[in-house]
Symmetry: none
């Protein structure tokens, strides 16, 4: 199977001013095309460093794709570096110069002298269609392919789709990679890995990878085969097995969030929702209303940060707060019930806890959160202690509460 | 000057599933600390490939920082690769194992056997404070420093701030790069760039860079000198000039958010706040309560998504909604006034608008938002039409409303 190595060129990528989104874009596109990226290099605007990166990348892979450093200014050095790596000179190509001149004529602007360098490419190389003023370059050396593309994402994407994929067709037609994602919540990474056992072994095909973000575990099933249909069947078989093993921990697929899955179920079941938040301070409502169409099920939310607000707005008895404290099972339950009755909805979720960093005690440490889901039929309240980090506590509490509602909705 | 090379480890980075945000974060932080990143490698979860990346990175720089691959599963191979590169064995450290066991005990969960590997680090290396279950690692070899950090951004950032920067202090103290950041809101990037003129020229020292994120413009003043004092004075001189030129567009410094600046002023002036949100659905309250200590000024919030909620909870006259529509100056004003009276606070902010993508009309397009700030003395309502992107509309509306309150607070 053919492989790709990427080189991203530009000082701005190493100063943190720019996130390397080109790398992620190309990786995803190439994987779908069946030519996986096996390594990536981020390099400053320096000829020797770039030339060395071509050397390293071509040792890793059959195809090297470099982005950036094709502009007209003195810090754009990719074409010079490619020529140096190939051991050839840069040549001025008249037909490229004419295209660049026409670009400026069509804009009624004189062509700055500096743009002339963009008509130069290494001897023996091929120019890829100009987009903007910079043509891309394709060179072949030692049986490997070297592409250089502009760094501007819109230009890069167009040149990749219109030129690079065509050039790579001889490789892509003979390979097929299918990627499926399963999203899980409610179990830790290591618990899931233990359940999956040898399925997660390296070198297995399909390969199963696992990533974690705010409590959500994403399992990536990467199936490779000679044709797309076979790869799809292999991925499907693994998906079925994973669903059997992990059961209700799996809440969705692709890039679905818990809020999205819960929202879709509420809409489908024609149920309505209200929320009452203390320590999450609006985060849960924000996650629910991030989704367009939330209007169909989301009615009303209260952020009852103070005790007075819990009493006045949600009808939590002040005696309950005095006896058990605002962070307690009893108050969580009363908040959820109060919200549901006041908003006249089918469900209400409440969250009350200690997000910290201050305000914790020995009995009620920072990270202690009660989450309650109330419906006409029943009330269900959970107690959790999350790691003491304000942002993480709030996020985990909101996610856990959504997951509780998901279980009530039988999805 | 000391230099850093970064290694980002994880198949998900090469499959395009995850954008490498850790790389950008570390690059920016290290530049501020005066230790620039000169190269970066993205590597798959394979021992030999990771070990080779340590070799390459240490040829580029004095300090190597690797992220990812410290989890408990079989595809987490960074600690094994570091040991291989260093030519030593992995050692089980009892004190680390105890910490990990305690982590699970505190959560009332049995420790999965797989987590034991997280207590192993290369012989002779030093463990950096556990966050979650994975300790970071610091090893020294051939006069160079090698750090490995977790890949989860929140854990990585905390460990970087709490451990790595401390270990790097000997380098950062001997070099003089002073970075000041000024945060602006209320004017576009090009307007600010025009006002600053030649101050933004490349090659100038201090260098002034400009980054934009959700309407907030951050000006980075990067001053370099032989000693810290001189660099500090140069940065200070530029800061004063920028403050004169940009006036009240500058709302803060460093990494301050608008919510933070507004919150601090409310606390200092002993004023209280309530919010009433429609289209932002909890986002404004979430931004305000992201800040610990919000309890001092934030009392209560309403997410009145439906018309009924606006009427029942905030006392917006139903005639007003019938006459002007829920997205109108009149309703925004009534929402803010209702929230302030009900919560009995000094200020209230309301937001009502059309976040889309559906629900727009010719008169009231997607992106139309009314924001109102109410106090006993006065009411001030603004109308904005933001670019039609749901996420951006919500964020801009919340930021603009916070900026209105900032002006009322005279900060």
């Amino acid at each position: 199977m053919k492989k790709v190595s990427l080189i991203s060129i530009g000082n701005e990528l190493l100063s943190g001013q720019t996130v390397n989104s080109n790398g992620a874009y190309l990786s995803a596109e190439l994987l779908s095309a069946g030519i996986p990226v096996v390594s990536a290099y981020v390099i400053a605007d320096e000829i020797d460093a770039i030339a060395r990166a071509f050397e390293l990348a071509s040792a890793d892979a059959d195809v090297v794709i470099a982005t950036g450093g094709l502009g007209p200014t003195d810090d754009d050095l990719t074409r010079q570096a490619l020529a140096k790596f190939l051991g050839v000179e840069l040549e001025l190509r008249d037909e490229l110069l004419e295209k660049i001149e026409n670009f400026f004529i069509s804009r009624n602007r004189p062509m700055p002298a500096k743009n002339k360098i963009q008509a130069c490419i290494p001897a023996g190389a091929k120019a890829l269609a100009n987009i903007g003023t910079a043509p891309g370059i394709l060179a072949e050396s030692r049986g490997k392919l070297f592409f250089t593309l502009p760094g501007v994402p819109s230009e890069m994407k167009r040149m990749f789709a219109e030129s690079v994929l065509l050039e790579l067709r001889p490789f892509t037609d003979t390979q097929a990679v299918v990627v499926r994602k399963l999203k899980c919540f409610g179990a830790g990474e290591s618990t899931i890995a233990e359940r999956l056992g040898t399925m997660m072994q390296r070198g297995r095909n399909p390969l199963i990878n696992c990533t974690v973000s705010s409590g959500v575990i994403t399992l990536h099933i990467v199936a490779k085969a000679e044709d797309r249909e076979t790869a799809g069947q292999m991925a499907q078989r693994d998906e079925t097995t994973l669903r059997n093993i992990l059961g209700e921990w799996i809440y969705g697929t692709a890039d679905q969030s818990l809020a999205e899955v819960v929202g879709e179920a509420l809409a489908r079941q024609q149920k309505t929702l209200a929320v009452a938040e203390s320590c999450t301070g609006g985060l849960l409502a924000k996650m629910l209303t991030d989704i367009s169409g939330a209007t169909a099920y989301f009615r009303c939310g209260w952020i009852t940060y103070s005790n007075e607000a819990k009493i006045n707005e949600l009808g939590v008895p002040d005696g309950l707060i005095a006896e058990y404290g605002a962070v307690s099972e009893q108050v969580a339950e009363a908040m959820a019930r109060g919200a549901r009755k006041k908003a006249d909805t089918d469900f209400a979720i409440s969250i009350t806890g200690i997000a910290g960093p201050t305000g914790g005690t020995e009995q009620k440490p920072v990270g202690l959160v009660y989450m309650s889901v109330d419906s006409e039929k029943e009330n269900h309240t959970n107690r959790c202690v999350f790691s003491p980090d304000r942002r993480a506590i709030r996020l985990r509490a909101a996610q856990t509460a959504l997951n509780m509602l998901r279980q009530k909705l039988n999805i």
